[in-house]
Structure formats: C-alpha cells, structure tokens
C-alpha cells in the first residue's frame, strides 16, 4: 500500500466491509489522493457520513469523523461548522441517504450555502438494506421493491442542488477517478456549499439484479455513458463541473448579524 493510504486510513479497520468491486472503495481512494493535494492538517478536517454502505467511509478515514443517523449527516455537519467555522467539512451520503430520507436536509443545506463539501455516492440503490429502489434508481431498473422495474423518474441531483441554492455543483463518475480527485479539491477551495454527485456502482444489490455483469463490466458501461454524455443532451447527462457562483455564505452572514446585534447592544425583544 502506498504511503498516502497509510497516512489517511485507519489501517486497523481494514479490510473494509464493502463487497468486491464496490464503488465506495474507489471514491474513498480518490478522496485520499485529494487530501494529499489539499495538505490540510488532519485535525482540522471533519468527515461526516450518514447511514448506508457509503456511510461506513467515516470509520475508515483518519480525520475527525462522525458517523451520524440516516439522512441527517448535513444537519450534524451544519452544527459542527457553526460551532467551529475554521474546520474543513466533508460530508458523505448515499443516494438514498441524501435524496430520500435526507432530501429536506439536502435542499436546505444548499439554500443556506454553508461552507462545506457534500459528496453523494450515487449507486442507484439502497445498497446496505438489500437493493430497494431509491429516488435515484433510473426508471425501468429493477430493485428488490420493484421486481418489474421502477415506474418513478429519478432526481437530477445537480439540477436539484443548483435550484435549491448550492453554489458549486458537479457530476462525476468513479470511472473519472482523476477528475473526481480534482473536483474534491476544487469543491473544498470553494467558499459555500459545494455538492458533488459521484456516479458509483453497487455490483451486488443493483448490478446483479439488473444483469449488468461483473464490477469491471459495470465500470466499462459507465465509461460508455460518460463518453456519450454532454453531446447536446442537456444538463441531465452532463459530467464535470456544472455550475459555480458566488453568494453570501451562511457563517459569514451569521457573524455579520452578531456584530450588528452587539452594536445595537443586543436585540430588541
């Protein structure tokens, strides 16, 4: 194992629990290499995660880490940032975690534009609980709760986040490991709420049910999707950074309010 993994992983917690070929390990690898670029003091970084296979990531990474409740990772992260604004916050969520039970927290974190990096690992399913369909399962794909294929449309996460007020939004596939690393660095440098949708893979509970072959074939499939994306098909199929803007950031605005209130000698109530 190369030195950078030694530095950022809790080696006594390995091997990780993820199935062979699971995308979570590829995302965590890219995150570690992004940390190598960012060179933050590990004590100044907080990794927060929700519940699910993807949520286990906080257990393996050697930073300040918090494994929270299902769908609430962003709420906990908001509390940390408000209490200690100097800390660099990275929040990992599964697609079910972020867009189903945690959907409300997601849109409001976007709206507040609080300075942190949120990473949604989208494997198109509730992996940990056995492959139920999530709001990100593409229409027609099978799930344990949709044996004939789901009839629902999936969210377009970047469009949702942008509309809700996130100020850096990107979509990237695990096939694009180097781009993923770059986008994590960029998102962390961005002042405000940055959201990355990482298209991942769950070969066991999603791939197998949809006859998508072995992990390598799923990755090969993703390569095809990425190569043919963005060719005049609109935002939905775009990979890479989609949107960036400058808007007032929550903590800065909050601090301004404190200064104002102190000038007035307290609030009027």
């Amino acid at each position: 194992m190369c030195a950078v993994y030694h530095k950022y992983l809790r080696l006594d917690h390995l091997p990780h629990i993820w199935c062979p070929g699971c995308g979570n390990g590829i995302v965590m690898g890219a995150f570690i290499r992004a940390m190598e670029d960012l060179k933050y003091d590990q004590n100044e970084v907080v990794v927060v995660s929700g519940i699910g296979c993807s949520g286990r990531i906080s257990g393996y990474l050697d930073f300040n880490t918090l494994h929270t409740t299902h769908g609430r990772a962003l709420a906990f992260a908001t509390g940390i940032k408000a209490a200690e604004p100097r800390l660099k916050i990275f929040v990992f969520m599964g697609d079910g975690d972020a867009t189903a039970i945690g959907g409300n927290h997601l849109i409001h974190a976007c709206r507040r534009n609080i300075d942190m990096t949120a990473i949604i690992i989208n494997n198109c399913t509730f992996g940990m609980t056995g492959g139920q369909f999530s709001p990100m399962t593409p229409k027609g794909k099978k799930a344990s709760t949709a044996p004939y294929g789901t009839v629902e449309r999936n969210f377009d996460i970047p469009a949702l986040a942008q509309a809700a007020g996130a100020t850096l939004v990107a979509r990237v596939g695990i096939y694009q490991v180097n781009l993923l690393r770059e986008l994590i660095v960029k998102a962390s440098h961005h002042k405000g709420f940055a959201l990355l949708e990482v298209i991942s893979q769950c070969p066991v509970n999603y791939g197998r049910r949809n006859q998508m072959g072995d992990p390598a074939e799923m990755l090969e499939d993703q390569k095809g999707i990425i190569k043919s994306a963005g060719l005049g098909q609109g935002l939905e199929n775009y990979f890479g950074q989609i949107f960036q803007s400058e808007q007032p950031e929550f903590i800065e605005e909050y601090n301004k309010m404190i200064v104002q209130a102190q000038k007035k000698g307290g609030c009027d109530v």
């Binding site: 190369c2 091997p15 993820w18 070929g21 699971c22 979570n24 690898g29 992990p215 390598a216 990755l219």
Partner: protein, 69 residues
C-alpha cells in the same frame, strides 16, 4: 516484481477478486489465480499508467515509479 521502470506491489491478502485491475490494465499485466485474485504475470509489460492502483477498491496495488510522489 518488475525489473523495469515501474515496480508493481500487490497485496494478495487484501484482494477480493473483483477483477477490475485485470480488465482495465491496457498491457495485460495480470492473470487470475484459482481464487480469481489477480496475479502479476507480465510485470515487464507495465506502462506505469496506474489504472490498477487508481481503480482498486481495496488498495491492493501500488505502482512505484522513480518520479512517484
């Protein structure tokens, strides 16, 4: 272990036999063993692209280069 420019390190103990490195190596460096785990069969063919390292979900492979860092 490769004698060439790139030294491949592989940790068989950690390999979960997902097959990604085998499929994605452009130089066909790997074959499989009886448990479907990767085997470095042709280390001299390695081009040092590091795909195997970057895509390995279990961090079993490390490509050492002179200029690595």
């Amino acid at each position: 272990m490769a004698k060439g420019k790139h030294k491949l390190h592989f940790d068989r103990e950690k390999c979960k036999a997902c097959g990604i490195c085998i499929a994605f190596c452009p130089a066909n460096v790997f074959t499989v063993d009886i448990d479907y785990c990767a085997v470095i069969s042709s280390p001299d063919k390695c081009t040092g692209c590091r795909r195997c390292e970057l895509y390995c979900p279990d961090y079993c492979i490390f490509v050492e280069e002179d200029y690595y860092g």
